[in-house]
């Protein structure tokens, strides 16, 4: 509560109406996609279009799941996102701790460097990566794609973890060290448990970055490790424009993360605003 909250009834009513309108406008596209996925294939392209299905059917879902490679691509998406989250966390946690706790010249150079890396467009590093993964013998594997995705999430993870570590009072580690813990022991047994929430937030963002990524997946995967975003995009060329099956697959792919977001809402807001707002 601060000086910007209004208590006048008339303004509150107007603002509520504006907000409800905005949310309806904002929520409509996804609801429409949801409704479309339950229409019959014929009704999805009816002129004029309808909002609600006249007959509800799961036909589109059956078609989408039944297609070659769809189930496999889901498994690939999950494996890639989990691997990439792990890589990101294992590298970011110690690095961010090193940056925030010891404040060395190298640390400053490192954090600025990580931020600059965040600006590199994926198209720039994606093509040279093809050759690198070929030389490493891991072309077209989920592991290679997970590494590529970690190049996106790692700078973000370092940034997020740094802001969480900064909030931990140094006295905590001092106390642990007096009790005989090593520096690594202090990080592992004292600091990490305190910042578990922050680690969770960082993990969510790393997971989402990989789950929704498209360009690296397009450049680096063929049939074996293809993720679902590529399959969704291929629906339009391979099978003509089957909007029904496409919306069904898009719903299947989005709903898990939307539910995740609603459940973990508070953590996600904390992550989004960490670093941007220090107060």
């Amino acid at each position: 509560m601060n000086g910007l909250e209004t208590t006048r009834i008339s303004s509150r009513v107007i603002l509520w109406i504006a907000l409800v309108l905005l949310v309806v406008l904002y929520g409509f596209p996804f609801l429409y996609m949801l409704f479309t996925s339950f229409k019959t294939p014929l009704e999805t392209i009816a002129v004029p279009p309808t909002v609600l299905p006249s007959t509800w059917t799961v036909e589109n879902y059956a078609t989408a799941i039944g297609r070659d490679g769809v189930v496999a691509s889901f498994i690939n998406s999950i494996v890639t996102a989990v691997l990439s989250t792990l890589i990101s966390l294992v590298l970011a946690v110690p690095a961010a701790y090193g940056v925030t706790r010891f404040r060395t010249k190298f640390g400053q150079f490192f954090i600025v460097g990580a931020l600059v890396m965040r600006m590199v467009p994926p198209i720039v590093i994606g093509v040279p990566m093809i050759a690198i993964f070929r030389n490493l013998g891991i072309s077209d594997t989920s592991f290679a794609l997970a590494i590529a995705h970690a190049t996106i999430s790692l700078p973000l993870s370092i940034w997020l973890m740094s802001s969480f570590f900064e909030a931990v009072p140094e006295e905590l580690e001092e106390a642990a060290k007096i009790d005989g813990a090593s520096r690594l022991g202090a990080l592992w047994r004292v600091v990490l448990p305190v910042t578990a929430g922050g680690v969770a937030v960082t993990a969510i963002f790393a997971f989402l970055a990989s789950w929704n990524e498209f360009l690296f997946a397009l450049l680096l995967t063929a049939t074996r490790s293809q993720t679902t975003p590529i399959v969704i995009a291929n629906f339009q060329t391979q099978f003509g424009l089957d909007w029904g099956a496409m919306t069904a697959l898009a719903v299947l792919y989005s709903v898990p993360v939307i539910l995740l977001a609603l459940v973990l809402q508070r953590h996600i807001v904390a992550g989004l605003t960490a670093g941007a707002v220090k107060g």
Binding site: E5, L19, G27, V269, G275
Partner: protein, 297 residues
């Protein structure tokens, strides 16, 4: 043997440094070095050093200048709409206080959706003949018939239309960051201005926005960088068309590299694009954010 703190910190950062060096810096170096070569489109083909030829070709080709301009326009459209909409929503949330909580949650959901899905979804919503948007606009008597606006097939407005999913996806990000920033504005400052008889617009432009500047700067810079790199959202909607009207830098580099098989030229274009983005970001950071100045905290 006991490590000094400095060594210890170095070893903590070493794995991440090596990872970024191998998988970001090294590909980046290769990409930039490619820009000085004429490279055959066939794997293992000849590679001839051509100096700055690719750069000259990039700057003299109309495609490159057009794509650069479109990238700028696209970024400005996205950032301006998101900022105005995001700030409005953040101010409404703040004015309604804690009771707006449920709505803040709902507002979050597009952030979780893949850009590829958002692009497809909006392409579906905006289709000329059976798209629901034109149908609803017609039902509301704003349009005479659903075919009147051809969102994605009219080259004059396509660049604006392809920006809609991006705006829809990430306005929430700006809203949430600005909302968090607004919570930190001391209430007594606003109260004092009210007592002095200041009206809302004055409070907004003279107090709120200046106080929020660091937060606004971070939000706009982050979003600006992302919008300037937008790829999948545009690719899935128009693939750069109609008549290249939505071909931004990412798409042009991709097309030159993958479709035309000219990695040398694509690398030169990409390198210029990268340098321009770095320069603009650094300038933006120095101009509006001013880290380290009295406004920082």
């Amino acid at each position: 043997m006991r490590l000094t703190d400095r060594r210890f910190a170095f070893f903590l950062m070493l794995p991440a440094t090596l990872f970024l060096a191998v998988f970001v810096a090294w590909p980046l170096v290769q990409f930039i070095s490619d820009s000085f070569f004429e490279i055959s489109k066939f794997a293992g083909g000849p590679r001839t050093f051509v100096g700055l030829d690719n750069y000259i070709e990039a700057f003299t080709s109309g495609d490159f200048g057009n794509a650069a301009w479109r990238t700028l326009v696209y970024t400005v459209i996205v950032v301006v709409f998101e900022f105005v909409l995001g700030l409005t929503v953040a101010l409404i949330f703040t004015a309604l206080g804690n009771s707006s909580r449920v709505f803040r949650t709902i507002f979050l959901y597009p952030l979780m959706i893949a850009p590829i899905v958002a692009g497809l979804l909006w392409r579906f919503l905006l289709i000329d003949n059976f798209g629901i948007v034109n149908q609803l606009l017609t039902d509301a008597h704003i349009l005479q018939d659903p075919g009147q606006i051809q969102w994605l097939s009219d080259p004059n407005i396509a660049l604006f239309s392809v920006a809609i999913p991006d705006i829809w996806l990430t306005t929430s990000f700006i809203s949430l960051i600005l909302f968090a920033g607004l919570q930190n504005i001391p209430g007594d400052v606003i109260e004092a201005a009210r007592l002095d008889g200041a009206r809302y617009p004055t409070i907004l432009f003279r107090i709120i926005i200046p106080l929020l500047r660091p937060v606004i700067a971070v939000a706009l810079i982050l979003r600006g960088i992302d919008a300037a790199r937008a790829f999948d959202v545009i690719l899935i909607q128009t693939n750069g068309g109609p008549q290249q009207s939505t071909e931004t830098m990412s798409l042009l580099v991709y097309r030159t590299m993958v479709r035309f098989g000219d990695p040398g030229l694509a690398s030169a274009m990409g390198t210029i694009y990268l340098i321009a983005m770095l320069a603009v970001s650094v300038a933006a950071i120095l101009l509006i954010w001013r880290p380290g100045s009295e406004n920082d905290r």
